[in-house]
Symmetry: C2
Amino acid sequence: MEQQHEPRNMSSKNHRRGPWTIQQQHTVYENPWIKVDHHDVTAPTGKTGIYGTVSFKGGAVAVLPLADNGDTWLVGQHRFPLDEYSWELPMGGCPKDEQPLEAARRELREETGLSASSWQGLGHYHVSNCITDEQAWGFLAEGLEQGDTEFDDTEELAIQRLPFDEVLAMTLDGRITDLVSVAVIQRARLLGLA
Amino acid sequence: MEQQHEPRNMSSKNHRRGPWTIQQQHTVYENPWIKVDHHDVTAPTGKTGIYGTVSFKGGAVAVLPLADNGDTWLVGQHRFPLDEYSWELPMGGCPKDEQPLEAARRELREETGLSASSWQGLGHYHVSNCITDEQAWGFLAEGLEQGDTEFDDTEELAIQRLPFDEVLAMTLDGRITDLVSVAVIQRARLLGLA
């Protein structure tokens, strides 16, 4: 890891990225999930400054499982970066070599034990594009069958089965604040899918 | 900045954060907007591992300005971390010492030249809680009056005035992917406000 703390010039000086110019760039931190780079830049306006970015090595997938009776499932956990308990859709990471739909199938099965016979997309999002390149994909999963959960060995998860209308209300009254969950749940209602 | 690359122990060893235990923590990067910390942790399950987090020094505010005829405004810019052009609601940073509503008034005025006589909240969100503690607030702004823009000296922004129904459609067909914009626009329709 040590060499990541040493400045590394780009192969070409004054590298362009869209209307931005990167004078110099070096990686200040890297772990299996993220890479943090510091840049000396010239903004599109010509103003010089700095820009720190967080690159994600994978994306995120969130699944809205919908039972025949209209129920859905939420997963609860204490989110370490936030230091708060958070109720969310079943979700997880999508490594670069995994298709989002396959990651969604896997995460739904691991976190809720559910498998689904019918899948459709519920959006592709850029999560926080001022600092990161994080992407997220939403999915609706129907035709559900219950199996066993397979939690990651770092996850301590709670599960609730609730009517979709209650979960939608939770996105509107502040009980669900996770932005990916909010967007995917609200999109399902706007499209008349749930 | 150099001392930030040196490991710094917490004042108490085995510091608790909810069900997590932090064995050791050090800051690996800091700039005026974010701080990146590396942690050696014990997960709630008892498994040991690492966790890199990005702490935001401010939040984000996004404003849905709504004209009497139902039009709204989008702002376009090339987002450096993503290296893509992105159309979004007027938005910007909310420093810790500024109230979200005041930041919303300021960002709307700076980016569109609009001021509004009527404001209401359109949600409080945790943007990407797997890695960050970033928060965002949405607002609906009505009773609009046009003034002059005051762009930041790093911003090269384009502005579009469009019917709200068209902007809502853009969140559903992938022309708007910025997650904060998507959530705030869709919430306004679900609440019957736009």
